[in-house]
Amino acid sequence: MATRNRTLIFRKYRDALKSVRVPTSSSPSTSSVGGVGGGGGGPVIELASTSLLNPNRKYAPLSTEDPGLPPAWVDVSEEIAANVQRARMKMVELAKAHAKALMPSFGDGKEDQRTIEGLTQEITGLLRKSEKQLKRLAAAGPSEDSNVRKNVQRSLATDLQNLSMELRKKQSTYLKRLRQQNEGQDGDDLEMNLNGGRSIIDDDNLDDMVFNEHQMAKLKKSEAFTVEREREIQQASKCSWPFVVESVNELAQIMKDLSVLVIDQGTIVDRIDYNIQNVATTVEEGLKQLQKVPFLPSTIISFYFQKPLSFSLILHGIVCIEWISHRRQREHRDEGGW
């Protein structure tokens, strides 16, 4: 895609005009540096150098009235963003801890369990705290500032919700794998036993006694290992189970609260032009019951009947009957929600 940069020409004109301009001493808000008087040329140059030296400064103060600091709520939003970042890093750690716990080991997995629990609790705590802080960002009354705040809120809410979902997914994958391992372990042992058995049969008869002993020893060891592992996993599941319940509850609560703020992608609320029009309204949403689906009027069905193919007639007869019966069923059904 083609573009054209006009900044050079613009700057050229701007500099040329600056030198020609008659300096006015009463021009408002010309300097940020304590209002050095004496001709417009001075402060203008100051400001120019300021903006050139600090191109990445977030807050470029402009007037002497307002010290140019960002409003207080920006600190809150930065705090939340920092918490979100912290939570993200903890998630990475958690992923590692999950992986470690899933690897077969001979020690007891209690320590791994504790680390996982601890991390998960930390993350959930961070999310909870951030969610509470989010509420502080809201502002009353229609003003540009309140719009900015609302949008910052929405953006952070989306981040939080995504993190919550990620946490949930990690948890459920971990538990699933744990369970799989448990079953898998049995399966493996069975395999091993069979193989062991087979090798016994295939072996030279002369070495039978010796191999048998070896094999017996191996079997015994693997059995002990299996039993130990099973116990471990059961314990892990048992330990984490009530804890999982709690965390699911918490996350559900967080998600419910956040859902009011998060924008549903693809809906009218996600349209820029809609947001410009509806500047000050807070987004009110709740899960509404799906309205009773009205019976598709006969117009649609008769539309279909126009086709000369008789096949479609039959098809439509079936559809009609289906629709009628569905409608009856639907009228007795209630839709679920939160």
């Binding site: 083609a2 573009t3 005009l17 979902m165 999982v244 924008i263 009218i268 996600d270 117009t299």
Partner: protein
């Protein structure tokens, strides 16, 4: 994807290199341009926490120096004035100026003069001056669309403005695609010729450096045609999803305003119909009404299943699963409601206005011959009490366009009947339409009865039988596209501008309809593109028409034409 992704790329580039909290300032045109390709949530991801219109932002005095301002405006007189004022008293930390089209040097001068505070960090031209509503369909949303029907003498500056907007829009399409086309236009249309010539001048003379892209073996083709060459398509009732919604309810910038249909919950009063964001819509936008009914029923059934399983939360695992799938569930719920509401509303209108009966007649008038039978059918419908005024008008117009020359007496009878029965009918409107778009004015073979090939084709269709009587009609555009693909677009009907020439078949074609496109035509283009014929078409227009808008433009043009002749 082409147009949509080009516009998106421009917006991305505007925002990506500017760090920190930003405010995006748009004008009433660029709002449409951006809104159809970029969403609010995407803006939030890029740290744009406020979006404002350039005229309303002037009114506030709040200082927001912690925000950086990103302006994306059309380089118009009013916008430059707004910018002047804002640069003189800047409210934001920095200002980054992006314009959707070429700036004149004087405009840059004015801006430089006002930027005493030196807040402007960059001035760029990012050529997204078109509204990319679908991957191969763009519009310019020109309010004074009726201008194309008026002779130049009536309002020269107004007409110049109209042509300028079109030239601006078309040229940015090619800048976004980085191509320079060979230009052809419809011979019988003065305005098409004018626009073609002005576009050529811009691309080959005035800004030839800017348009000097790497040349490919075959240049793309820009074809400029006039709406009046096919006045039938906008008058017909539609039965494919997107076109039908626009005809019966109205789509603007991919949004549908349902607030007038009454008693809808707040979140369904205005809905979005975008093929980019709604997979169901993308799959069904070109399907006919009956098939849509089936698809929606299936969608509702699927949703019922999901809803039922969500009710059945008995174990903690179920709860966990529900929490995981909640956002998906919500999205599904919203989408199902939206489509069910739309289809229900349209069914209601179809029933109230007896559209099935009327549309059958309309399709007959548009596609099949037989003047005597047609006259009788139209006369009967005019006598039918339950037919609305607007539909009566459509029928008479369609009859008149086809049988203009046959039996003028009967035509007069229909005019009189119409005038006597429809109190709100502006007398002479049908005659005005004939003056604008009558058989003497048209180039294309609208009814397929001019050359042997078309006559033969029509006969073949008649013998084969039509799959669905409501969707028989093919817009004239379809024939035009076929001719282009075969390399048989006649020079005498569609001459080249100046000394442009093209041997062989173009692979990229942009067709611009002065006066507006219809969704029936954009469907035709999309289906053509999907058939992989080796040529890719893009369709654009000054507006997107439905019958209501077409008639409004006609009435407005008639009113102005009448008053100007009175004055003169």
């Amino acid at each position: 994807m082409v147009l949509v992704s080009a516009a998106r790329d421009y917006v991305n580039r505007m925002l990506q290199d500017i760090s920190g909290m930003k405010v995006l300032i748009l004008d009433s045109q660029t709002v449409s341009i951006v809104s159809v390709v970029y969403s609010q949530s995407e803006l939030l991801q890029k740290e744009v926490f406020l979006v404002e219109l350039v005229d309303s932002i002037s009114k506030s005095k709040e200082s927001m120096s912690h925000l950086k301002a990103v302006y994306f405006l059309r380089p118009t007189l009013e916008n430059i004035q707004h910018l002047r004022r804002q640069l003189a008293n800047p409210r934001f930390g920095e200002s980054h100026l992006f314009f959707s089209n070429m700036l004149k040097d004087t405009q840059i001068h004015i801006l430089a003069d006002s930027d005493e505070q030196e807040v402007v960090q960059q001035v760029q031209e990012y050529y997204a001056d078109f509204v990319a509503i679908d991957p191969y369909h763009f519009t310019l949303n020109i309010p004074s669309n009726h201008m194309y029907m008026l002779p130049a003498v009536v309002d020269p500056p107004g007409l110049q403005q109209f042509c300028d907007r079109i030239v601006d829009g078309i040229s940015t399409v090619f800048l976004a695609l980085k191509r320079r086309p060979v230009i052809r236009y419809q011979r019988t249309s003065d305005i098409a010729k004018r626009i073609a010539q002005e576009t050529s001048k811009l691309m080959y003379q005035q800004e030839s450096g800017l348009f000097d892209f790497r040349r490919t073996e075959i240049s793309p083709l820009l074809l400029i045609v006039d709406r009046r060459d096919d006045p039938v398509t906008p008058l017909l009732n539609q039965w494919t999803y997107q076109a039908m919604v626009h005809e019966l309810i109205g789509i603007h910038d991919n949004k549908v305003d349902l607030s007038s249909t009454g008693k809808l919950p707040k979140d369904q009063q205005e809905v979005v119909l975008s093929s980019e964001q709604d997979a169901f819509f993308k799959a069904n936008m070109y399907e006919n009404f009956g098939d849509i009914g089936m698809s929606i029923k299936r969608m509702v059934d699927d949703f019922q299943q999901v809803a039922k399983s969500n009710q059945n939360i008995q174990t903690i695992e179920d709860m966990a699963k529900f929490v995981d799938s909640y956002p998906e569930y919500r999205k599904m719920h919203g989408n199902v409601s939206k489509h069910v509401t739309l289809v229900t509303e349209m069914s209601k209108i179809v029933g109230e206005r007896r559209l099935m009966l009327i549309s059958e007649r309309e399709q007959d008038l548009a596609c099949n011959g037989g003047q005597v039978a047609a006259f009788e059918a139209v006369a009967n419908l005019l006598n039918n009490e339950s037919v609305s005024d607007i539909d009566r008008l459509h029928l008479v117009m369609l009859y008149a366009l086809r049988y203009e020359k046959e039996s003028p007496v009967q035509l007069m009878q229909l005019f009189n009947k119409l005038a006597s029965q429809s109190p709100k009918y502006k007398p002479g409107l049908v005659q005005f339409l004939l003056k604008q778009a009558g058989v003497d004015k048209r180039t294309g073979d609208l009814y397929g009865n001019r050359d042997l090939l078309n006559i033969a084709r029509n006969m073949a269709r008649g013998l084969k039988g039509v799959e669905n009587v409501y969707t028989q009609h093919q817009p004239l555009l379809f024939q035009t596209m076929e001719s282009i693909i075969k390399g048989r677009l006649r020079d005498v009907d569609y001459p080249f501008v100046g000394n442009h020439f093209q041997q062989g078949r173009p692979q990229d074609v942009v067709i611009f309809i002065v006066g507006g496109t219809t969704y029936e035509e954009s469907r035709s283009v999309a289906l053509q593109n999907a058939s992989n014929s080796g040529t890719r078409f893009i369709l654009g227009g000054s507006v997107v028409l439905n019958s209501k808008r077409f008639l409004k433009d006609l009435e407005e043009a008639q009113r102005i034409a009448k008053s100007s002749t009175n004055v003169v």
